[in-house]
Symmetry: C2
Subunit: 477 residues, 2 copies
């Protein structure tokens, strides 16, 4: 038998969650560090998760009438500067190209941190009449923000995302689009990633640079911290006005259109890891798992085992993304390897099983072992994949419920923030000063004002003045 690799050791979650995270992303072979500071290499197993996310989400976008386009990756400085808030938000972390070959550029360009300005520039060329509206565009690409501290998938200088950019004749239509896309993100997170999310609107402080309103889906990670997992922005006609985008309406009068943008990124992979992972490694939701079922033959040197396992594999790969591991590594090593990689289901089959016309299925989410007749596999595997999804979702929801607290006074807020990592629901007067004070004194930021409002008290948790909104507060990635 070939020499085996050692079973991969990872830090336990409770000991050091941050270290556990970086162990998992490396050991599960999702990524590798590169010589380019702050940028990462996404390895085949990690990229395959992103491809599954892309495929499903792209289908949802196209079903709602969106078309993909491709904008340049550069933005000339003068173009970035047209919208005042936008440039203030993004210029400080832009990567600047100053030379082409040996020549200094007449005007420096940044690598896009986001593409609102490029889309506006294009809209100005192609929108003339009400017949040209709406444009419902999206692009899959990478963008660059020169962050000081980076973490794989969560914050890196270059990251992959999709950015939707739409333009409409009326504010109502643009607002409806903004909410529609937020709902698509929430549906995607819950239905495909098994991650429950809270939908809401950001406070002014947390708004996207240049937006009138920023909507968000917020997920809670295993350690109680929040991860902003997708945002959808309503721009009003602010960008259109400064870029001079106008169209002739049905009465042939010049009018200004309204815009939105919305995005999710490879952060979603970070969300998957930190929502579902455990001390054995990654745990992947079946809908985006590159391998949904791994088949491990037991005592494969015994007659007929490899053949039977292969026969099952041939059938299973018609049902789901299946893999068979026929390497010379021991079953124990293989178990640990595919647990590390978060494969939702493992199928074990050995000589005794074959005699009994059965096999053993092990669920990655809860370790449950189930003996199943070989004739039942076609029916049971899809059911079990569904069960793993549901199990993951329920577990994540339970974690969030358990770690969601209510604070009615500043003392309660500080106490919870210090001692109980999680979401804190509390009332707020909508005054920026209180939001800043909560950050300073309790170390929490506003995650969102949820659509589902509750009246916990009639006073602001900070200043005691009349409360206007219930807000989710927390520490965030």
């Amino acid at each position: 038998m070939a020499k085996e690799k050692l079973v991969k050791e990872i830090t336990s979650m409770d000991e050091d969650f941050a270290k556990w995270y970086t162990d998992v992303v490396s050991k599960a072979e999702l990524m590798d560090y590169s010589s380019v500071k702050g940028c990462m290499i996404i390895r085949p197993y990690g990229w395959a998760i992103w491809e599954n996310i892309q495929r499903i989400m792209d289908g949802m976008f196209k079903e709602t009438g969106h078309e993909n386009v491709s904008m340049p990756m550069f933005i000339p400085e003068s173009l970035l500067q047209i919208e005042k808030d936008h440039v203030e938000g993004f210029a400080p972390e832009a990567a600047w190209v100053t030379h082409g070959g040996n020549d200094k550029l007449e005007e420096r360009m940044c690598v896009r941190p986001t593409s609102e300005t490029l889309f506006c520039d294009h809209y100005k060329n192609i929108i003339h009449s009400w017949r040209d509206l709406p444009k419902l565009y999206n692009q899959w690409c990478s963008v660059v923000r020169w962050e000081k501290t980076t973490r794989p998938f969560l914050r890196s200088r270059e990251f992959h995302w999709q950015e939707g950019h739409t333009i409409h004749a009326t504010a109502q239509e643009a607002q409806a689009e903004t909410i529609q896309m937020l709902n698509i993100y929430a549906e995607f997170a819950e239905k495909y990633l098994a991650i429950p999310v809270i939908k809401g609107v950001k406070t002014e402080k947390e708004r996207f640079a240049g937006a009138v309103d920023t909507y968000t889906i917020e997920a809670m990670m295993h350690d109680g911290k929040a991860l902003q997992s997708g945002t959808s922005h309503f721009f009003g006609d602010g960008f259109a006005k400064v870029f001079g985008i106008q169209y002739a309406d049905k009465e042939n009068k010049l009018a200004t259109p309204f815009q939105t943008s919305w995005g999710v990124s490879t952060r979603l992979i970070g969300a998957i890891i930190m929502t579902h992972g455990d001390d054995s490694g990654l745990v992947l939701p079946p809908a985006v798992a590159p391998i949904q079922l791994v088949i491990v033959p037991i005592a494969s040197h015994k007659e007929g085992v490899t053949e039977k396992a292969t026969e099952i594999y041939e059938n299973m790969k018609k049902l789901c993304r299946a893999k068979i591991d026929l390497t010379e590594n021991s079953p124990g090593w293989k178990f640990a390897e595919y647990e590390m990689k978060g494969v939702p289901l493992r199928l074990e089959i050995g000589p005794r099983d074959i005699e009994n016309n059965q096999c053993v299925i092990v669920r990655r989410d809860n370790g449950e072992k189930i003996t199943i007749g070989l004739d039942e596999l076609e029916e049971k595997i899809p059911e079990l994949l569904g069960a793993v999804h549901d199990g993951l979702y329920e577990k994540a929801l339970a974690n969030r419920s358990e770690k969601t607290y209510v604070a009615k006074t500043m003392e309660e807020m500080i106490d919870i923030a210090e001692n109980k990592p999680g979401f804190i629901k509390a009332m707020w007067c909508e005054d920026r000063a209180c939001e800043d004070a909560l950050k300073e004194k309790a170390g929490v930021s506003s995650r969102c004002m949820p659509f589902e409002q509750e009246s916990l008290s009639d006073k602001c948790v900070c200043c005691g003045k009349p409360a206007k909104k219930m807000v989710y507060w927390g520490k965030a990635y």
Copy 2:
């Protein structure tokens, strides 16, 4: 009836092929110019062609065991400089990032012009043993080369492509990979794009910077010029040596692996346009056409026409990528519009057709009108799409045959090069001086030394010394 857009006018091919080309890419809404000099916006219709190319080709790559990854878009200058030939080839046209936010970078980085150096840097981290080989990687991304003169899809400062990068234990294995990928490119060009190509190897002068051998597929455009449409490079162990990539072989001795890379780009869209297009606009091969069949109701105000057309559309969209145009534009306007956009088949249906339970199909490739019973559509549409593909391929092949010449002397070479745009087959002694002389005196470059060699004469067309290879010469995009 709504006011119609004017029928789009384009320059005729024979009058000015370059102008015809830029008219088509704009009027068919494949692209738009941007404020970023030398970069272009790929519009939804153009991007949808690229998505079809990606989907089919990605399937071919995965079937042959390749995995997708994602490397950073930046290359630190010191990394680019490790391979001497490579840096000489690419540094002069690199776009350089010198600042992150307000800070000057310690080391400037270029935006990747190609990613060999990044892959090598990664291989060094992940390859230790013969068990880690081969790695068969690919990535879909955009790259940047600071070109002086640019043309949509053919040469732009940023362009989209795929770059495959593989690493193998033996030179033989790497060479076989190089040829396998060239064959996949040729199969793709012929089977899906209806573009006949010549497979061969580049001369040393035309080789990729850092490669031992560069293989190519060369296509002939309508105007007789050559378009290099895909290349596959064998690197030997040159990159591995300078990057210090080594592995323990089966005898536990340190060995150096062998590498390849291969790529095709959005140039393929340029190839489609210039191979199949005509004076009415674009003509798309069915396999990559965003719309394969457009349904245009005639006299749609008459009772039952819109309903019948819609019923047909509902059936057709199960068979192919179908679209129905129910706008108020006139049938004549719609005919011109979808001809401009190169839709392979048009289905016309009016009151008389409905009475006779039939419709008219018009082929974009040759204008043929065919009356078909509505009950036959399901059988006939796929057949007709196949016929359009075959028609396009045959026409392109005929154009190439007609414009391929043989030159046995320098006088013949100069005469043909001046008066008959096309490929010129001629013998060559393998001396660089003759290749340079042919460029200077006849204005032609070597396109490739084809796999299918012929012995046209025993003397070099230029110097008269013994000939070693038959070469395709021509003017190229």
